[in-house]
Symmetry: C2
Subunit: 397 residues, 2 copies
């Protein structure tokens, strides 16, 4: 009998909005976002909080209740928020997903209800997975509260939790219903979390937008001093470049083998693990990018001047460019404790051939499918020397 060929075109549309004081009663944005899809009936909304965010904003749910009292025609919050631990802990314990599922069941949420998640990238990933799998997907409003989640993790289409010791082993592709970035939440971040999101912005600038890199280079010290205007531009442009990549890559659900935005990530993932997650993801990405930028120099892709501009930009933002784990197992690439084992893990993660992004020039990457351990060993020494010089300069000043 004849085959049947099935094409299923699906199109998702969502808005990334920028605001301040989202649940102030004179800010109509949150209610408008819900009313845009269901103007005729009040929908249920379950709130999920990041415990870290909640500590800094203990009154938030009272504000949400008061806000809801002004918008009873639009949404009704479920009586109590779910509170998840911040950081990887949210993604490491499946009990948090069960908690989300149980709350969705008890409150009788349906496919026209909402789960609003307020927190960092890990909590948004975990709670987003819970919401995506209940009733085959409850509408999710992501309200990221860190630089990294506002400019990268929370604006995309993925969610996930860790399992069997593997990062994001469980997860789905499930575009959010809306993303709302409230700059007010950034005020209470500590310096490391403030800084951590910057490396993803430098990354995407290096790969896609030389003018944006110029901006980041110029503003590096101000970003480190928490100048808000510079940070707002950084977040907006970085989110825009990420979203543009997802929309135009031709592979938003990553069915192929290439992961062009994973620049510097093979070593970053490994360094996170080798340091026992004492490095934040953003700090590890900064080092990972500097390593692959140095490799790009040694492989003849970029000039010394370009190399120096990039490393100095990271340093001026306050990033450390060196950890001793870079030299771990440098002569035993096959040892699981070697940094170089990260190359093999990365290839397995891609599920195809090895694809490493290097830099061609500022604003343009180049993919290679083979790398040399010797080049990498020299790149590590070069990075060490640069970082040492920076530190000495720092001490001299």
């Amino acid at each position: 009998m004849q085959n049947i060929t099935q094409h299923v075109p699906v199109s998702f549309t969502y808005e990334v909005r920028f605001t301040r004081h989202l649940f102030s009663t004179d800010n109509p944005l949150f209610a408008n976002v819900i009313a845009s899809a269901s103007p005729d009936v009040a929908r249920k909304a379950l709130f999920v909080f990041d415990a870290g965010m909640h500590r800094h904003h203990p009154e938030l749910f009272n504000h949400i209740r008061r806000y809801a009292d002004h918008h009873t025609d639009t949404f009704v919050p479920v009586a109590e928020p779910i509170i998840l631990p911040g950081g990887e802990e949210a993604k490491n314990n499946p009990v948090h997903i069960e908690k989300i599922h149980k709350a969705i069941h008890r409150a009788g949420l349906d496919r026209h209800s909402y789960v609003a998640i307020i927190g960092g990238g890990a909590v948004i990933d975990a709670a987003g997975y819970g919401a995506a799998t209940a009733h085959r997907g409850i509408r999710t409003i992501r309200i990221p509260t860190t630089v990294l989640s506002q400019n990268d993790a929370a604006v995309g289409v993925k969610n996930g939790i860790n399992s069997f010791g593997k990062k994001n082993f469980l997860g789905t592709f499930y575009p959010p219903f809306a993303v709302i970035n409230d700059s007010q939440f950034l005020q209470t971040l500590n310096q490391r979390d403030w800084r951590s999101g910057i490396s993803e912005a430098i990354k995407v600038a290096l790969l896609k937008d030389a003018a944006f890199f110029d901006f980041l280079e110029r503003k590096a010290a101000r970003l480190d001093r928490r100048e808000e205007k510079a940070m707002q531009h950084l977040i907006h442009r970085c989110a825009e470049l990420h979203l543009d990549h997802i929309a135009t890559s031709g592979d938003p659900f990553e069915m192929g083998s290439s992961r062009p935005l994973d620049f510097g990530h093979w070593s970053a993932h490994k360094l996170e693990q080798l340091t026992g997650y004492t490095l934040t993801h953003g700090e590890a990405v900064a080092i990972g990018i500097c390593l692959d930028v140095t490799y790009s120099l040694l492989a003849g892709y970029i000039s010394e001047d370009t190399w120096r501009r990039i490393l100095e930009t990271f340093a001026n933002c306050g990033f450390e460019l060196w950890v001793p784990e870079l030299e771990h197992g440098i002569d035993q690439p096959k040892s699981p404790d070697s940094l170089f084992h990260g190359l093999q893990e990365f290839r397995e993660h891609l599920g195809g051939e090895l694809t490493i992004m290097l830099l061609q020039q500022i604003g343009e990457g180049v993919e290679v499918h083979e790398v040399s351990f010797d080049h990498y060993r020299r790149a590590i020494q070069r990075l060490k020397a640069f970082a040492r010089a920076q530190t000495n300069i720092g001490i001299d000043q």
Copy 2:
């Protein structure tokens, strides 16, 4: 700051193939399906079996191993298949999902590997959910072994398991990599499972294809006598109409409130529950459709002749058109034990306003948003009288 509007167009394409003796060494289909996506490297494949299917085909995994030995360049089967219980039991216990995840982890499957599921709709739903959530989706090859799964459940884009006593509470939309219908598996079905898939074919014919209904009406008795040629046409055309609906409805991931293919399903779901699942889904759907066809008659949408043709077609296929549970709580619509409570559950399930599909004429449905209990009470009596007359005729013969 300016909003960013994100459009994410995603397009899935898969083939539904028809064959016989899939794992016979002279049948290249299965290997070709895998080679089409990755001609250059042998991919891992995890097999999941329905215990019911496995009882009838105890040698299947040996055949698969022998088949794999002929195609070592294309795929490598994971050492042991996972065996799940057939029917709703596969969907009721989350331990089966953990089993799938653990097997995927242990075998090191990645996003370019395969999970091949051989069984009925429930096993395909459950194992499909496990595969869809590992690494954000392992490629799934569905090999349905019942009439219902070959013509309906397994050709679509959904998966799911039950939780908190709610059907399909957990699940995702995740199009398969391929569907392969092997008619050989139908030979070992018992008569009830053979018949059960027929009601979905009559349903989709009534809503979309009058000529297909004519065919089913003509062949009803032969279908009940297990004439294979008639059944193959039924499966092919029913699958085709389902796929066409998913592809052209404009809402393949069901983001709106309408579920036009749920004809007769509000009462079918409720009857399954009220009978303690002693009715199969297909048997319940037959009764549910006959009830709403009778309602359509009483509401003036269709003629008595049309009504009679439809009910006789179901009866000639061997379906019972009456169970006492139709009269349960007929005067207490708000009681959870009442058939009519199914209307409220169905509305909650849709998450919007009530939308019931009635019949306008053979080949064309009509959606209504209000129904009358009185009409339904009379429809139930009319259906009872028809069924009693049929039974008497049956006895007389």
